[in-house]
Amino acid sequence: MRRSSRTLLGAAALALAGCSRADHGKRPVIGVAQVSSLAPLDEAREGFYKALADSGFVRDVNVTFIERNAQGDVPTLSLIMRDFVQQGVTQVATFSSIATQTAIKSISDRPVIFGAVANPYLIGAGTSATSHRPNVTGAEIPLPVDSTLAVAVATFPQARVWGTLFDPADPFAEFYLDMAKRKAERMGVRFVSIACTSAQDIPASVQALHAQGVGGIMQIPSIMIGGGMPALVKQARELGVVVVASNTGYPGPPLAIGASFYDNGYAQGLVMIRVLHGESPAKIPFQKSAKPKIVVDLGAARDFGVTIPRELVAQASEVISEKKDTSHVNGAATPAPTAASDASSAWRFWLSALVLGLAFSALAWGVYIASRVLRFPDITPDGSFPLGAAVAATLIYSGADPLIATVVAFFAGMGAGYVTGVLHTRLRVTELLSGILVMTALYSVNLHVMGRSNISLLDRATLVTRMHTAVPRTAAWSGDMAFGVVFLLLTVAIGMLIAWFLRTDFGTAMRAAGDNPAMITAQGVDRRGMVELALALSNGLVALSGALIAQYQGFADVTMGVGTLVAGMAAVILGETLKPRRARLGGTIIMVAIGAIVFRALIALALRIGLNPIDLKLATAAFVLLTLALPNFNFGFRRSAAMVGATR
């Protein structure tokens, strides 16, 4: 009896072990690696799954997928590949060049089937379609930037100069840029390119292109800039610059020419099926998807004030005639804005700086409360700003009311600031480190909130949607005008609330907690509580600013926090410098908001006179440094001691 039970147990264990191993043997486990959640990559993945499903490979029945997404963080890709090997995947499917490149580097003993790769030779997958690495094959997606440019120039002749943004960190940027530039040269068209290092800088970079006379943007493929496509489209539309995308799948541009990522993914799926049926990847040549697809978005064309020739519409493989969310373009029946004249384009340029400045006022006030009222060097804003954007974007994306989303973002920021405060007051972590810890942790929190690295809000309702419903869009009444009015009302309301709050008995005690800790304690106030609440308020305002910016630029991105604090500091310093000597609390609050607007205007000016957007953050940091350092040279700069002392 005892013996037999032991045998039975042993047999069961064996069976179990055998089962799982046999399971792996029979049922393929495919590691699916994606670099980020960009719309085209998602489309390719859908096509891939569809191809497998069409051939009878049903998820979790006879095939297992392990899906991993690096959410825009390229170094994570290597970790993902290592994880795949550890989990014993049988095949790897990669989407995008960078994911494929990483897979090639780290995996040589099992098949890697790629998709969404424009040029597999560039990343070392092989030397020709048939002569390639034995474990690597897939479907390449032709992204003929040169012919896209040709069509773009022919379709929109009013644009004399063309241009593009490129991400200098993108290993493929040079390849596409080169292709576009050579084509432009052959066609006798001036082509300008401007480097852009973060999605946050896209509006500024578009302004810089515009300042160089660019009338049309033919955007080359790029992961980072693709993520910021809503911002690119929005800014370009305000400046009267037309946008043509060289890959399909992004909402916003009136014209997109490029291969269908869905079809490409489907072709990749077919290659995967051959491998699953036992064919060696070495024997399967690289597949090429069919000819490029033309996608025409008539609604977008109307917003841009451009017309797309009938022949092209007839040729298009996809015509989007109405926007999904019509509330945004309710007034579209009225005359669309026409391509801007020079005077009105300059006005629009400054208007967008003003609107950004208004949206950044809340940030400036938040930084003011932490750094000046509380005298706490708080770094949390670099995390709480994108937190506000992430919370608002996620809620709006899932259909929440934009106003409620904005308010929730404010409270989320308050939570973040409160945690920073508690770390300092209760756990005795230094001020700087408290902020650094929370800011770092927020990066993960923000990714969790969004579920991916980037959320597009194009065609979603925002705070200005109701405004657009009430007042139809016209040439004079542009999107920026609506945002300007809404942000102005909001900013005035918030500023008045802050000025009132800081004058109340509670707010006075909060100011005293920063001004004189010994005194406020002697007056019976627990300073720790005040520090926590002031930091909560400060970061709530910063998050609110993030929520406004996300709605204005049309997307939230997990990287958009870089440099937030320094930008806020710059606004505060500008405000203080411009402030009349006798200004009291209310005056200071107004001047800080004006500082934010002046700061955006200075940036706009710098771009207009040719500052490379790459140098924006450097210039901002240098500006802040200069204003802090100048008083130390004793040029008779007033308020010198106060300024340096307060920013210790």
Partner: protein
Amino acid sequence: MIEISGLEKTFDQPGGDQTIALRGVDLSIAAGQFVSVIGSNGSGKSTILNVIAGTYRPDAGSIQIAATDVTRWPEHKRAKLVGRVFQDPFKGTCPSMTVAENLRMAELRGRRRGLRLGLNRGSRVRYREALASLGMRLEGRLDASMGTLSGGQRQAITLLMATLTRPELLLLDEHTAALDPRAEEQIMRVTDQVVRSQSLTTLMVTHSMEQAVRFGDRTIMMHRGLIVADLSGEERRGVTESDLLMRFSELRYTAEMRVTKDLLAGAAAG
């Protein structure tokens, strides 16, 4: 009524040394009594003030203010019962705020601070009257920024703030030490007037023998963490500065002996 018993406090010095600041101090102050505390540097006179205020936690002993044991109360909670004036004229007020705002904050000492604008016509009238009572022509400076006032003016306002709502105990920590002689004279006059008119229980630490004998109705002398003399009533009447100085050097000697004996006893026991 203040009841202090067995108060001990030792500070750790950087480098591992220890400084004994209070060696079991007992002190009882009757309600309405004005006590001056003198002693040399390191005698523990400032420490005892800070321990009573809650800035430092005692290692042993207990503190009762108005029949409430506050030994474990945090500093800000004790502020409900205790009004303070610091040595540093910058410490007692907020320089970036107006005189009125500072007074409003003081008026709410120990009370809930809500979301209302506390500065209104009524409170401004109150503050103007209170400032006028100082006799320093400060009543017109209600909207002046605190930072624009002189050290003496600040100390006068800090004193007013400490007594605006009547405290159970007023602590004065060498509050004239940083002032010039004229301002010192003025502040002492105002102090005496405020303490007498409200009959406040007061503990004033001072470095000035002259102040110690001229003001208050009881003088305590501290040395090496101990109370070495306690003069009041008949004994104190007619005592001059030089008497006090003499007394002081004598007592210093006996205290020195006592501490040394303690140390020797400790060494012998160890």
